[in-house]
Amino acid sequence: MTASPVSLSQGRQPPLVAVRRVSKQFANGTLAVRDVDLDLAAGEFVSLLGPSGCGKSTLLRMVAGLGEPSAGSIDWPTAPHDASGRPSRDLGFVFQDPTLMPWATALGNVTMPLVLKHVNKGEANARAAEMLALVGLRGFEKAYPRELSGGMKMRVSIARALVTHPRILLMDEPFAALDEITRHKLNDDLLRLWEDQKFTAVFVTHSVFESVYLSQRIVVMAARSGRVMADLTVDAPYPRDDLFRTSAEYAHLCRVASETLKKAIAQ
């Protein structure tokens, strides 16, 4: 694992998303994000790691287009732009809570993005059912959210985010509320989906272990100031599994990330 300068993008390809000197100040004066530079390369798995309140959610939401930066810009160099110059962001978003519509079945929830894009009903249902199967919920199409466990609801939420086959999947502490066994299982399934569907993954988390296990790159944000502290590269190859979780390499990587995070908190 090596700490590399923040703005150095991988390779010569233009990044999928280029965050340039972005700051966000809320109406109440809170400076949630300060001067962040960040390139998200197509296909990579990046974790945003940092203590509570450091601005991870705010940054992620701005990347998604929910909330404008107060300063700086977030560009999508390779995405098509509409007449008014807005990029078509083509993304999926997973919140910390499953955020499902309680009146719709699992299938109904997953079809929603397609329905909004005017995909016809038959095709939308077929694609949603296929996506539900991919997240391990075959047979639960007709179940309502209240009939599902926390882990299963999260799977529905991920299926909904992926059903449009977005180029980038943004996740805001998606597994924070789950128990460890479920969390590990979902981490594995997420990695498998990522390898299979080849989207870019941005994963916000508090957990050093989770970020090391999942990502190729860990962006550590500093407490309160809303700045990027360090940009760590995780070299370990995929597929990763329980063997990786118990390896000395993993333990070492966790220690390095942990120490960086500690420094980030101390700042």
Partner: protein, 294 residues
């Protein structure tokens, strides 16, 4: 992920999900109603029978004259003998009630939708809806009858005034209560206003709207009866309230009670029907209607 790695649907998925799978237990039923539901039905019926029996006894033992307090048996008898006049009057009152309720639902929901589209409109109009709500309908009914002229339309308007506010305010609350993150998600997918309304806000508002409907159903009946009372002395209305007034002038107290029974029964029926509709619409997903097994 290949198909071979997919869990079969009969295998627990997370290791923690096994207990969470929906199990639809079948309960033994008597007359189509589950065994556990019967005490809830029988208890109020038993209470009612005991109270009615006590009433009949008191009336008989004390020889209370029928023009002061008729016993339940006499009232029941009057209900049967006077059914011809009374049922006609009931029908007239119910017609106004339902027309008012339909108007309350259409106008209440439409206004609520318009208000959520424009905060500015809501701010300028909502206070007047409140004014309409807090003004006692008895006090404006005579004015409305004079202004409108047509008695049926006046009664309809009075009943509507009473019934429409709970629907309006509940629906506004419901439309604004959609999960904020879901609203964001719709925004991310570039949903139009209409799509957000149709697929997110209206379904989110449904439980609130139905709560309002339950209240408004009873209020529409009350509004219709009150307006009939006001109109009754001067107008040519022949709804139940008019029959009550008429019977009281003629000291036909049992008939008055019979008419009262019909009004209460109608109110109860409206409540039961609206509750049942709410139950049918919400039972799969809303906390208020789902059957808890723990």
């Amino acid at each position: 992920m290949t198909d071979s790695t997919l869990p079969a649907s009969n295998v627990p998925h997370d290791g923690t999900d096994a207990e969470a799978r929906p199990v639809f237990a079948t309960e033994r039923k008597i007359l189509g109603i589950g065994v556990s539901a019967w005490p809830g039905i029988l208890a109020p019926i038993a209470t009612g029978i005991i109270a009615l029996a006590a009433w009949e006894m008191i009336v008989r033992i004390n020889n209370v004259p029928t023009y002061i307090l008729p016993g339940p048996l006499l009232i029941a008898q009057t209900l049967v003998t006077d059914w011809g006049t009374l049922s006609g009057a009931l029908w007239i009152t119910l017609r106004i009630t339902f027309a008012a309720l339909i108007a309350a639902v259409t106008i209440g929901v439409a206004l609520a939708v318009v208000f959520t589209q424009s905060k500015w409109l809501e701010k300028s109009l909502f206070p007047y809806a409140v004014v309409l709500q807090v003004t006692p309908v008895v006090s404006i009914a005579p004015l409305i009858i004079i202004w409108v002229g047509d008695i049926n339309l006046s009664l309809l308007i009075c009943a509507w005034i009473v019934a429409f506010f709970p629907i309006l305010s509940n629906t506004i609350l419901g439309l604004n209560s959609a999960d904020h993150n879901l609203v964001n998600l719709f925004q991310l997918y570039g949903a139009t206003r209409w799509q957000t309304m149709r697929y997110l806000k209206l379904p989110a508002a449904l439980p609130y709207f139905l709560g309002g409907l339950k209240i408004s159903g009873g209020l529409a009946l009350i509004g219709a009866v009150v307006a009939e009372f006001v109109a009754g002395s001067g107008g040519n209305a022949s709804g139940l309230a008019y029959r009550i007034l008429e019977a009281s002038y003629q000291l036909k107290i049992p008939r008055m009670f019979a008419a009262l029974v019909m009004i209460s029964a109608s109110g109860i029926a409206i409540f039961l029907v609206t509750s049942y509709v709410a139950h049918l619409l919400l039972r799969r997903w809303h906390e208020s209607a789902v059957k808890r097994e723990n």
